[in-house]
Symmetry: C2
Subunit: 312 residues, 2 copies
């Protein structure tokens, strides 16, 4: 059995943060990342890398944080009451990328390690990995959806062939707006509490997931960044971004937990899109191209049931 | 003692809805209201009047609804458990006006009557009025703030001189964004459960409040609608509208209750502004004029402590 190695995770997370930024900068040519480091006395800190008002990335944030808490809040782990009130440690990277071009999808990812410093029992590990990623297109492309889920499956299969089915379903179940009866996007992976293998195996799974996100999103950026768009496409993107805001502020557990526990507001809300519209039902233009999003792409499905299509 | 007269309230609410629309149309010259009537089988219905993409009103909604429920949900009245599960009736008008010009404030108002059809006790009335109004400026004007609160006080004083102090404080206490340590706006009136006088007296109070909103907002529109503005003012307004969205989706009880109980999503979310921005901290322009909003206008205070200033 391998042992818990927090510094190795912190180091890898920061190298992954940098590799995502480097990947984005192979596309983005107008702006440089704005780096902001922050810390809370005795509680740790983090750093945010923001890409704002770029030619490809309208708003993007890739944030690393490493926090030590003296007392786990009651609301943090409903299923593990014995950890409440004990010291804990949490480290992770969160990213949200909102591209300018409405034919490019928004992506969100999170990879994290949680460690409890409660007196330890021998039965259960005192650490859990968690995270996942998902894609929110405005105008869908079947081959992008297939690529996205294929990369996710490949990453999972390296560790456990049962992972992909479970974590895709958890993702579909999580990113739902009940008041709209809509999914937020086309899904991906979502997992909590990963410690069913030894530490190194779970850590390797996290690395595979991280690398697959960078590769998949890189390919999609390459494919679509030069897709021509007009004002009507931008208007539709901004209206759909409203749904993104609704999900994050009404339902997203990380956002609500972060704000409730007085986390760093700017980091938590970096996920909100740069420009958004709720124009009112009767003036929204929803043509056949726009209708495809909700009628086809946002319906959860097995995107890998057919072999990968060639680029159309 | 006067008796409960629901039809009279329904009739007055609809006439007030129309008088607000008529007032707005003395300023708005580009667009006509879009009227949409809706109903749920056996549960009642309502009608929405929306002003969208106008020259003065960028987005406004004035909505009437009259709903009959067969069984009051548990979450509706935490303080009156004996009414849960019994039939009820609710009627009201809600409005939110988002002007185009950043020098015009957003306003929100709600007036409502709630009636329980639970077996009645003689001790307590089975009806309650509720509501209030508040103002959210982007660029503040002292005389507008004074006018706003003076009209609110005058309306309250006609019924009970203790009302204004109580209901202004409730408003200041309610419209708070704890994660921003900011008020949503400059406040106004907020009251729940008004039945401490007989029905007609309480109903008259509601009428006075409604009329005072129309008058005060009309005066402010007249004063500021021709104020010149530039792109930088619009950008600040859109960024501040983000705070409005944050409040409504994170904290507003009516919004969260409505969505949770499967109310009509389009009516509930008509409050969300037409165009909003979360541009990212490091690219926001906050000059001295913009800083005044949070440093002065959004600090709760007694705006009537000094006599009304003349128009500057």
């Amino acid at each position: 059995m391998t042992t818990l190695n927090i510094p190795a995770v912190a180091s890898w997370l920061q190298s992954w943060q940098q590799s995502v930024i480097d990947m984005l900068l192979t596309h983005e040519t107008k702006v440089a990342p704005h780096l902001e480091a922050w810390s809370y006395p005795h509680l740790g800190g983090g750093n945010s890398q923001a890409l704002l008002q770029g030619n490809i990335i309208e708003k993007g944030g890739v944030n690393f944080s490493h926090i030590h808490g003296e007392s786990l809040p009651d609301s943090a782990t409903p299923s593990r009451k014995h950890l409440v009130g004990h010291p804990f440690e949490a480290l992770g990277v969160s990213l949200v990328i909102h591209p300018e071009n409405p034919f490019l999808p928004t992506t969100h990812a999170n990879l994290r390690l949680f460690v409890s410093h409660a007196p330890q029992s021998d039965e259960h590990p005192n650490w859990w990995f968690g995270g996942g990623y998902d894609l929110t297109p405005y105008y869908g492309f079947t081959d992008d959806c297939q690529l996205w889920h294929q990369k996710a499956k490949d990453a999972c299969d390296l560790t456990d062939p049962s992972f992909h089915g479970r974590f895709k379903k958890e993702c579909d179940d999580y990113f739902v707006l009940p008041h709209r009866k809509e999914q937020r996007g086309i899904g991906g992976l979502f997992f909590d509490d990963i410690n069913e293998y030894d530490f190194d195996t779970c850590f390797n799974f996290i690395k595979h997931v991280g690398d697959s996100l960078t590769q998949a999103y890189n390919t999609i950026l390459s494919r679509r960044k030069d897709h021509p768009w007009e004002d009507k496409h931008k208007a539709f993107q901004q209206m759909r971004r409203g749904r993104y805001v609704e999900f994050n502020l009404l339902y997203d557990r990380g956002t609500l937990f972060g704000l409730k526990t007085k986390g760093r507001t700017e980091s938590i809300l970096m996920s909100l899109p740069p420009s958004v519209a709720w124009p009112g039902e009767s003036v929204m233009h929803i043509g056949p191209e726009e209708k495809q999003l909700t009628d086809y792409y946002l319906i959860p499905r097995d995107w890998l049931a057919n072999p990968l299509l060639e680029e159309e």
